[in-house]
Symmetry: C3
Subunit: 177 residues, 3 copies
């Protein structure tokens, strides 16, 4: 049986320089471990907020590593060094605007500054790329909102079958027509 690989990319000048610990990448890994009954290998990168570096990491995790899902954290705000959505759009063949819309809508219940988040999602080959916010608490809120659609999305991309722990998160797969 093929190994399921999931990529986690932390875009952060300070975390990649070792100035502080990457708690966001860790929060994503723990959330995915709680969600999934399927065994998966996490492929992890912690890089600076350079668009080229982020693009290279996305391409590597999609094309070389064969990750069916690549989740990023950081770099989605309006500041000069926030370029993760631009890197994502650059490497994707298809954009998935519904992910960003729903994540902003969910975050708006907590903070009015949710509209400053530019996070998006897209498809490169057989990989779904998803931008998450940088703050660990917002990461969980956003993943809880969009993850139910992710296993079926990966089915449509002809990727591996992801089985969820239904006590934690319910994946939805529509009946085939």
């Amino acid at each position: 049986m093929e190994t399921i690989k999931i990529g986690i990319i932390t875009a952060s000048d300070r975390a990649s320089a070792g100035i502080y610990e990457d708690i966001s990448g860790k929060a994503i890994l723990e959330t995915l471990q709680a969600y999934l009954l399927s065994t998966f290998e996490a492929v992890y990168r912690c890089i600076p907020d350079n668009q080229g570096d982020i693009e290279n990491a996305l391409v590597d995790l999609a094309d070389q590593q064969g990750c069916c899902l690549i989740v990023t954290t950081g770099g989605t705000g309006p500041a000069k060094r926030d370029v993760t959505p631009e890197a994502t759009e650059q490497v994707c063949e298809k954009m998935m605007p519904g992910f960003g819309e729903l994540m902003r809508q969910v975050s708006l219940k907590y903070v009015p500054t949710a509209i400053l988040s530019r996070q998006t999602a897209g498809i490169r080959g057989k990989s779904l790329i998803l931008n998450l916010p940088g703050k660990p608490s917002s990461i969980r809120e956003c993943l809880d909102a969009v993850f139910p659609a992710i296993p079926y999305c990966i089915d449509l991309l002809e990727g591996p079958y992801l089985e969820c722990n239904e006590q934690v998160i319910k994946a939805f797969r529509p009946a085939q027509r």
Copy 2:
């Protein structure tokens, strides 16, 4: 009096090859007939999921046939052959993001996988182009949500006056300032 023309494009490899009946295109036609008191001519195309074919059909229905409204069904998901939004964006001068946002929001009440739909809308010349999902039940949900804005949009594009059956759907036209 000028004939009102409305285009319906079904993008489906299987329906266009005759493997199954195009029930989605039929569902759109029946919905429009229920909505509109104005007499209209439906211009129908059923084509494979090739971006070039979809673009050609959109251009033909907009520029040659003079359709004030062109509705597509199919090809809005994340799979490799889903390219209807890309074809739409390619031929439009203006994009109308509010349509896709509202349709996804409405579909989210039914299924969490609504965020996988990439449907959009845009303007080419005097034609409003609108992507609908492929599933007949979702088609009606989406049209019910966005159609109230369509007659006024066509007024703004200097197209024909569409009169709706108010028992079925209420068009909204703001008072002129």
Copy 3:
């Protein structure tokens, strides 16, 4: 202390030709004066609905005048002369989709034709550019919805500190991590 500058651009063929008074630009100025305790200088332009003219005004107000916020009114609909979102996208390095999404969502509570508005926001250098609708009543609805996020956005762009009148509008600044 550095002067705070805020740009207001009215894109309107008729207002710029003097055919009617620019009540929209006035409504924006009055709203900002009600919101802000900080003293600011308004830099005002009233120009025709030409994409090039709008781009030039945006670039001037951002680069030469140094406005931390530039608000436009008019030209966001589907009609041929509505090109303000295109001009905005052309001059911005980053787009901020959350603003347009929230403004359409709020306007949808009042009119189903809110989805016809294509208004957006983006960043050029250290300036936040925000498209508002043309109608004065909608301007206030939209600003009330998005303004709470604007002072923090300008903080992130390293602009001046905007202090709001909390009796009128509450700005939100998350605790720094």
